[in-house]
């Protein structure tokens, strides 16, 4: 699927939805971490309720970040090479180190922040959780004030280091794309900054949503002040992000470089995901709404609800931004002349399923981590008190959970509803239902991939499997057996053999550059040469064609245009026939082919004037055959006279039909090779068109550079082709019978018998082919008895 021109190798899409996920997930990590650092380093007290949650979120997404890359690799088992032998000029080589550094940083900071909780939980809980917490404590149970102070100092340092690290982690992802000069949609120095800002934006938005939803599910009090400051932060970063993106587009549109046309077209093609989702839904509307709720008095609960919706919109908008960069950028052809179409794949390693699976995983890890290390532990006594209060109703919370958990929640709701209202057991009911819902959804997806009929397997390597393409076996071999090759006449020499005619036992080879005719016998031995010295008046200047009538050899000479009639037995020039010039501007005739009709008339094709001349044996002009108007002129489909359906539909670009060699078929029609058509044209006795064949529109039968034509006594038609380096054989009606002279007619890299087949002659069951400049190759034709009456060949 494509529009315009794309390089052939661009047909396959390289980076698809998994590579969209990768910057999206790392962006969420960077954003969430920045929020926690804002509290730990810059002391934004309002963010205290989410500071610990932010760390958990960052960790959950960070653990999954390499997964889409890993799943996308052609050789996932070699991924470790990126750590072991990084090639440091590659932006991608840094990924392993930056990711690992960041992982250590986040793990250590999380551990330090949650250390008092871990110690407390290790003491409080029972087997087996006690063992888990004890292992997490790493043997450190010192929660004295001094130890806490050390912890806090370390946390502050780590959080401070974490901010540039987050910038590095995500700015670097932007650089991966921004540094590709081959792609005009990616190549901009602003890319890392835009990636970083959109990362922070998405991280804040996600954290906001996660916080509000988690609190709702856990039936805890939402700190509206915290949500409000997060909204303000979101609005601020969103504004800078939008400004930078606008700036980039503006400079592209203003500079109007070579690539602008294609980029403008791309924006039009991505109007929904780019202008609609990314810009309007993901940035402009949130900016306006957030600006409104921070500038004007809005009721707290309402503003929190609005913030939740806006948060979702922003996260979706940032996802669309990643999509537009990664997928959008690849839809531009690097030829700047067209667009590649992205095709959706469900199964396989790079399908939608794999992407949804990977996108689900951070939320699963998040749920587990939150369960293991509740980030809101400090407020727990208050919440527990609230839960235990008899006035509190659990029904609204349950219905919320049901909605959140989707299809999986229904059954759980009923069964859980019957459990005795033990407040302790009910505490994580929302989380449990969410987990159940996620699990069910994933199981359903898994079923869809593995069990559904016809769905592609998950473990199938490669996003899209190449279609099985057979090597086109267009041409067949014609079973002619090579008898002999005469590269030099034994006892003589030639310079540039060009044409051949066979009369009796003699093979007469036209030596074009030697300006002579060499007669050899059937064993290739030199018999005699005919030139101006040995035959008076035989002044050969660029002779191109020969024919014989059984007694005399007829030689078509170009300068001057005349036909010499040579009696080889007597070694005399019998006569010469002057060829009349053409009608247009009196252009001289160039005899490009000669043959005899069954009535004994000589047919001379005149390539110069696009006509066939029919001469009586005494040289008088009987008929001048022109093709119907236009057909030997510039060939277009409109001027093509229908012989067959294919021929009617034929179109040849900017080439002129020109008759080359001619031969007479058994039914008396003249077959003329159209050199530039290319193809073979059948001319009726009255000069009208009787059809045509061997056009290259049919690759299995067409000719490319036809040089000569000959007919055997069974009516089979032989056309030598210089480009094909072989002889095409056709039945009397033009159907293809195969190729002579190629060991593999479908392979141009396999050897051919001839380099430049330029002329043909048939006598009985033998086919004589001139390999121009080299010699004569003789084949035995199948299906013809060896002893035959001699038929005058061409």
């Amino acid at each position: 699927m494509m529009l315009g021109y794309i390089y052939p190798n661009e047909t396959e899409f390289q980076w698809s939805v998994l590579i969209v996920l990768y910057p999206f997930i790392t962006g969420l990590v960077a954003g969430a971490f920045v929020v926690s650092s804002l509290y730990h380093v810059f002391g934004m007290k309002a963010l205290r309720p989410v500071a610990r949650l932010a760390l958990i979120t960052a960790l959950a997404f960070l653990l999954i970040a390499p997964l889409p890359l890993q799943a996308h690799l052609g050789h996932p088992e070699r991924a470790f090479l990126i750590f072991l032998m990084p090639h440091f000029t590659s932006a991608m080589a840094g990924f392993g180190f930056i990711w690992m550094f960041y992982l250590i940083l986040v793990v250590v900071e999380t551990w330090l922040v949650f250390r008092p909780d871990i110690v407390a939980l290790a003491e409080r809980s029972s087997w087996p959780m006690k063992a888990v917490y004890r292992s997490m404590a790493l043997g450190v149970y010192d929660v004295s004030d001094e130890a806490m102070e050390v912890d806090h100092r370390l946390i502050k340092i780590l959080a401070a280091v974490g901010i540039p690290s987050a910038a590095l982690l995500h700015g670097y992802v932007g650089f991966i794309f921004g540094a590709i000069k081959a792609n005009p949609w990616w190549s901009t120095p602003l890319m890392p900054v835009i990636f970083l800002l959109s990362a922070i934006v998405s991280g804040i938005a996600l954290l906001m949503v996660l916080y509000i939803v988690s609190m709702k599910l856990l039936e805890r009090e939402i700190d509206h002040e915290c949500v409000r400051s997060m909204s303000s932060l979101l609005a601020g970063f969103l504004f800078i992000d939008l400004a930078l993106e606008g700036l980039e587009l503006l400079s592209m549109a203003y500079e109007q470089e070579e690539s602008w046309t294609i980029v403008r077209g791309l924006i039009g093609r991505m109007s929904v995901t780019f202008l609609g989702v990314q810009i309007l839904m993901g940035a402009v509307i949130p900016l306006i709404v957030l600006g409104y709720i921070s500038l004007f008095r809005v009721e707290r609960r309402l503003s929190t609800a609005i913030s939740t919706v806006i948060g979702v919109m922003v996260v979706v908008g940032v996802f669309a931004m990643r999509w537009n960069v990664v997928v959008g950028g690849q839809t531009i052809s690097k030829s700047l002349r067209g667009y590649v179409e992205y095709e959706w794949v469900f199964g396989g390693r790079e399908g939608i399923f794999m992407a949804s699976l990977i996108l689900c995983l951070p939320f699963v890890i998040y749920t587990v981590l939150v369960k293991l290390l509740p980030p809101w532990l400090e407020e727990a006594p208050a919440a527990e008190a609230a839960l235990a209060a008899p006035t509190r109703q659990s029904v609204p919370a349950l219905s919320l959970v049901g909605a959140g958990a989707g299809s999986g929640g229904g059954g759980g709701y009923i069964s859980l509803g019957n459990i005795a209202p033990d407040p302790k057991r009910k505490r994580y009911i929302g989380l449990k239902l969410t987990l159940a819902g996620l699990g069910t959804a994933m199981a359903a997806l898994m079923y869809g991939v593995f069990a559904a009929p016809g769905s592609p397997g998950l473990l199938q390597i490669g996003g899209s499997q190449p279609e099985p393409v057979l090597v086109p076996q267009l041409r067949a071999s014609f079973p002619a057996q090579q008898l002999s090759v005469f590269t030099e006449p034994a006892g003589g020499s030639w310079v540039e053999p060009l044409d051949v005619t066979v009369m009796g036992d003699g093979i007469f080879v036209l030596d074009h550059a030697g300006q002579q005719i060499i007669e050899i016998d059937q064993k290739g031995a030199f018999v005699r040469s005919y030139d101006a010295r040995s035959v008076s008046g035989l002044e050969l200047r660029h002779p191109h064609a020969m024919a014989n009538d059984g007694t005399d050899i007829f030689i078509g000479n170009t300068f001057p245009p005349r036909v010499y009639v040579l009696d080889p037995r007597a070694g005399l020039l019998v006569r010469s026939i002057e060829l009349p010039p053409g009608d247009t501007m009196n252009l001289p005739t160039v005899p490009t082919g000669m043959t005899f009709t069954s009535y004994g008339n000589l047919v001379v094709s005149d390539g110069q004037n696009h006509r066939l001349l029919v001469l009586s044996p005494d040289g008088a002009l009987v008929q001048a055959i022109r093709r119907p108007p236009g057909s030997w002129d510039l060939i277009t489909p409109n001027s093509r006279v229908a012989g067959t359906a294919q021929a009617a539909a034929l179109s040849i670009v900017a080439s002129t039909g020109r008759p080359g060699s001619v031969a007479v078929a058994l039914d008396g029609t003249i077959l003329a090779v159209d050199i530039l058509g290319p193809g073979v044209v059948r001319v009726q006795r009255d000069g009208s068109l009787g059809g045509e064949f061997a056009r290259p529109s049919l690759p299995e039968t067409g000719v490319f550079t036809p040089t000569d034509i000959a007919i055997d006594e069974l009516g089979r038609i032989y056309v030598s082709d210089d480009l094909l380096q072989g002889v095409q054989v056709y039945g009397a009606n033009g159907t293809s019978l195969g190729v002579i002279g190629r060991s593999d007619p479908n392979s141009f890299s396999k050897p051919a018998d001839m380099k430049h087949p330029s002329a043909l002659a048939v006598q009985g069951n033998k086919l004589y082919v001139v390999d121009r400049g080299r010699g004569v190759v003789v084949y035995q034709l199948p299906g013809i008895p060896p002893v035959t009456a001699q038929i005058p060949p061409q």
Binding site: P8, N9, Q14, A79, L84, V140, I180, A182, N638, V653
Partner: protein, 270 residues
Amino acid sequence: MSEPVRRRAFLKLAGRVVIGSIVIYGSPAAVMSKLGQSAEPTPVDADAGPPGYNPKAHQWVFIVDTARCIGCGRCVRACKEENHVPMDPRYNRTWVERYVQTADGEMHVDSPDAGIHGFASFEANREYAGQDITKAFFVPKLCNQCEKPPCVQVCPVAATYKTDDGIVLVNRDKCIGCRYCIQACPYGARYLDPDEHVADKCTWCYHRISRGLQPACVAVCPVGARKFGDLRDPESEVSKIVAQLRLYVLKEDLGTRPRVRYTQLDEGVR
């Protein structure tokens, strides 16, 4: 007085972090590195020259005479056969583009099935039916073997590398299949081998040229539109062409310094 306690706790913690990190992340790496992988590019046997071939003694160059090309597509076919490139038209080491300018000044570009069957078919010419064509020419494309190859720059594991004679090759045993090089190539010369899942590209038939042969596409070209040779040999045809004719390269503005030189290029050929 609380100072020693703090310091001890801090050191203890830091020590644990450092040792833990080394144990967790260092040991697999240490084991892997013992497996004999090195960061130095290592040529692949299949592509490497024969023993005795000295890459430093050559400076290969490829010249495409667009005026000669007749668009027969034999080069594309020969390349696929020589290098076992899939016959699927989505994967090509070389291809032929056709540029057709119609009377309205519009330049049309196409490369049906990468040009492997030529351009004479009815389908390839349908859009020009009844149109006046003012000029048309063919442009064979292949890897430019850039002097500053972006593909080599971006490979995260140095699986693709430049030899001393200027050819960019891919170590198929090392390529991780990330496809960054495919994205980085401005000429669309690379593809992911669908069978082995590694990046693949034209090598100018390194296995042939290092044995004194011509690349397959050059050998089968019936009109001499593709020329290949050594700039170190002043008597070679390519040396004379480079010395005497005006030659162009594709996408010069990207600074990749391609080694494939074109004659008679027209505006809009990229």
